[in-house]
């Protein structure tokens, strides 16, 4: 089974999913993330899914659960880079990913995390919720 690498950068954890994950790989990523949030006392998690050409209900649920669990561990999660075709399909599928914050690309995602953690004034003004 493949494991998705998690990078630590300051108070943030960065994940870029570059492979078509099977369900076990997805669950392992969730476990690894939780473990590392605690180990590094991470305040924010950025998950880049720009390379994913399919997000089905399983991966969608993994993303939503991860965001919710991270919240419990006092870390914010931003999912970045979702492809338009994936977004259209998720809407049709009926998956709203409630509770998951999203940004267009890694830079915007980092801005969003920073604004949450370091207070307002740094982000580009893009609001969520």
């Amino acid at each position: 089974m493949q494991r998705i690498p998690i990078l630590k950068m300051g108070p943030y954890l960065l994940v870029s999913i570059q492979v078509d994950m099977d369900d076990r790989t997805a669950m392992a990523l969730q476990d690894d993330l939780m473990e590392q949030i605690v180990r590094h006392r991470a305040r924010g998690v950025l998950i880049d899914i720009s390379a994913l050409d399919v997000v089905d209900s399983f991966i969608g649920r993994m993303l939503a659960d991860t965001a919710a669990m991270a919240r419990v561990l006092d870390a914010d999660t931003v999912v970045v880079g979702m492809q338009p075709s994936v977004a259209i399909t998720l809407v049709e599928l009926g998956l709203a990913l409630t509770g998951v914050r999203s940004a267009l690309n890694i830079e915007r995602g980092m801005d969003l995390l920073r604004s949450r953690i370091e207070g307002p004034g740094i982000a580009d003004g893009h609001h969520e919720e």
């Binding site: 089974m1 078509d20 994950m21 099977d22 369900d23 076990r24 050409d53 399919v54 997000v55 089905d56 209900s57 399983f58 969608g60 649920r61 492809q83 338009p84 075709s85 994936v86 259209i88 399909t89 049709e92 599928l93 009926g94 998956l95």
Partner: protein, 137 residues
């Protein structure tokens, strides 16, 4: 209507769902589906293949390329010998699940397809057929 190509893949384990996505993607690319159309049929296939493994104990997927006049399409047939679905209407409802999923699999796959047919009865297994035509909404 002609079937211009047909292949059968066994889907027994959850890890093989990835393989299903690749095979269906290739079929959709061969028919020059738009990116959104490809994503919809691949996602529907992913949902149904996982259902087949989780609830039907695994089964076979038949991937067919269809040609009907100038219409081109992909037909996917998922067949398992599992316990079957007692109440199909209920299973199609969003949020209904007997397992660990979100309960979007069947209803979601139906919304992502142009044609959707389900044959199932307790003890007789389940057969789900979906079709997506190129260039349809």
């Amino acid at each position: 209507m002609d079937i211009t190509r047909s292949e059968v893949v066994a889907v027994r384990a959850a890890a093989e769902v990835v393989n299903v996505r690749h095979i269906v993607r290739r079929a959709a690319v061969d028919l020059a589906f738009s990116l959104v159309e490809q994503t919809k049929i691949v996602t529907a296939a992913s949902e149904l293949a996982r259902n087949m493994v989780d609830y039907g104990g695994g089964g076979d997927l038949t991937v067919e390329l269809l040609s009907d006049g100038i219409r081109k399409g992909v037909r996917l047939i998922f067949e398992d010998q599992g316990p079957g679905i007692p109440d199909i209407q209920q299973a199609l409802r969003d949020g209904f699940t007997t397992g660990k999923g979100l309960g979007l699999g069947l209803g979601g796959a139906k919304r992502l397809s142009n044609e959707f047919q389900i044959d199932s009865a307790p003890g007789r297994g389940t057969r789900i057929t979906i079709v997506r035509w190129k260039g349809s909404a």
